[in-house]
Amino acid sequence: MTNRTVLVLLDPADEVRSSVLELLTIGRALGRVEAVTLEAPSVEALAQLGAHGVETVHQAELPAELRGDARHLSAVVAEVLAAAVRRTDADVLLAPSTFAAKEAVALAGRALGAGVIIDAAGVAEDDEGRIVGTKRVFAGAWDTSSRVTTDVAVLTVRANAVVPQPAEAAVATEVEGFAVEVGAALPTVTSRTEKERDADRPTLEEAAIVVAGGRGTEGDFGPVQDFADALGAAVGASRDAVFEGWFDRYVGQTGVTVAPRLYVGAGISGAPHHRGGMQASQVIVAVNNDPEAPIFEICDFAVVGDLADVLPQAAEVIRAHKAAR
């Protein structure tokens, strides 16, 4: 079924993040890709969308009272997605696996009577042309395949599922507005402060390399951050370290779930909660001064030692290696 229409959520629309570029790459393998946004895409975003084969961007026009902070509510995003699927007669709806997008997509699936797969690690079609999502579950210990049995398939896809590739030929991208009515019962957003994105480091969700610190840092994330910068990696923490107030974002099954090419855990023992958020990583490295740390059971390479000694020494060798290249 190559005449399939695949709709991809682009929110925010000021940039096309690598997670969205992955969705466009997956979408092009299934059919023709189009994008849906809740705001006007930036010039830069339009150029990227064109390079990735998107001819049409469907920009929702919300009622005036929902154009402010309320437009980020998942119930509002869901109505936009459902209306866009109906408008384009799309067969597949794809969104990144953020907590907000998961909710929005599930609610859209409810409105459309469509089957929903959350946190897919891959998307394909089976012999009968049905959409199949593969998932890595139980802290990365099992792989499952699920088939969507409805005509419309709705999925969120985890970052690092595929390597983003531009289309063979770039296309011109047009923006089409469409009106959306929202009937859902909504809470009032009384305040909203956007988080600043660290311009110098990749985001935790999308990074190809993640370095995380835990209790073993004893509150000093300096060596972890310096080692991450030597590798060009994103920085995360264990849930304990966040509870202690040492860092703001944690890797874990209730925090950020990551599946990078390389994960380095420093001073992290590897409790089930944490493992659930990183065990699907391709290569796992740990530094811990406790030789009995459970994280060593799931590692490819490990150093038993003090991270305050090991990480700076490793960072120095890596920087020298990069400089010599």
């Binding site: 209730t254 530094v287 090991v310």
Partner: protein
């Protein structure tokens, strides 16, 4: 104030979890209350404890689960924490439910309780640790036609309204809505209480109320495997990792680490 807390019976994340015939194996010896639901129960109990005197006595917290009878261990745990009633919705027809089937059963149970009197708040954990979809709370709100306030880091109920703060991937937000509403609670919201001896003893003899799909007027076509819009067609354990390469740091550990990364083209 009447609060319904939706709880789930899940395989213990510390046990070896597995699939058989593409379904999650729910071994009663390894089954437990979803740990994240303890945050939901704690939030509900704290809301009641913060009520003015006089309103606390009439408040009721009801734990509801959709589960086979083995799921009673989850309700027992809820009793130990201090909930007043436990309701289990059980039916063979519910096996194999997708997000929508599970939501339909929970919503029907809430409506069943509403027939006795108003339900002001439905509280859930942020996700269940078996599936980790974290979408049922929002779906439940939509099904009940109530505002959805999810992933709460702080929770306050006052003047007939619910206010939460939360950290989304993009922003820090404050949301409010008049009751009735649906609330999901993040695992950073509170530290669930440890049951005291008195409650542990009392939990043993508390009756669990059982309901079937027919009691709830659930359409068999929308729940269970029959109503599911997705079907799991394969489930296989991942191959075991090769033995870890372990280096003891005797002054050269960092160098060994860097060399491993360089050798494997990870730098």
């Amino acid at each position: 104030m009447r609060i319904v807390v939706a709880v789930k019976y899940v395989p213990d994340i510390n046990a070896e979890r597995k699939f058989a015939d593409c379904r999650v194996v729910r071994d009663p010896a390894e089954g437990t209350l979803n740990e994240l639901d303890e945050n939901a129960l704690e939030a509900a109990l704290q809301i009641v404890e913060a009520l003015p005197e006089g309103e606390q006595e009439s408040a009721e917290v009801v734990a509801v689960t959709v589960s086979p009878p083995e799921g009673d261990v989850a309700l027992r745990k809820a009793f130990q924490m201090g909930v007043h009633r436990g309701v289990r919705v059980s039916d063979d027809a519910l096996a194999g439910s997708d997000y929508f089937g599970t939501t339909a059963a929970l919503a029907a149970a809430v409506r069943h309780l509403e027939a006795e009197g108003p339900v002001d708040l439905v509280v859930t954990g942020m996700a269940a640790l078996d599936g980790l979809g974290s979408v049922v709370p929002a779906l439940l709100a939509a099904e009940l036609g109530r505002p959805s306030l999810t992933f709460a880091k702080t929770v306050a109920v006052a003047g007939g309204a619910l206010e939460i703060t939360r950290e989304t991937d993009e922003a820090t937000e404050t949301l409010t809505a008049p009751l009735p509403a649906v609330l999901s609670v993040a695992d950073t919201a509170n530290r669930p209480r440890f049951p005291n001896f008195k409650l542990i003893m009392a939990a043993r003899s508390k009756a669990i109320e059982e309901l079937s799909s027919a009691d709830l007027g659930l359409d068999p076509a929308v729940v269970g495997a029959a109503g599911a819009r997705t079907e799991t067609t394969a489930a296989a354990p991942r191959p075991e990792k090769p033995e870890v390469e372990l280096v003891q740091d005797k002054g050269e550990g960092g160098k060994a680490l860097a060399e491993y990364l360089i050798r494997n083209e990870l730098v």
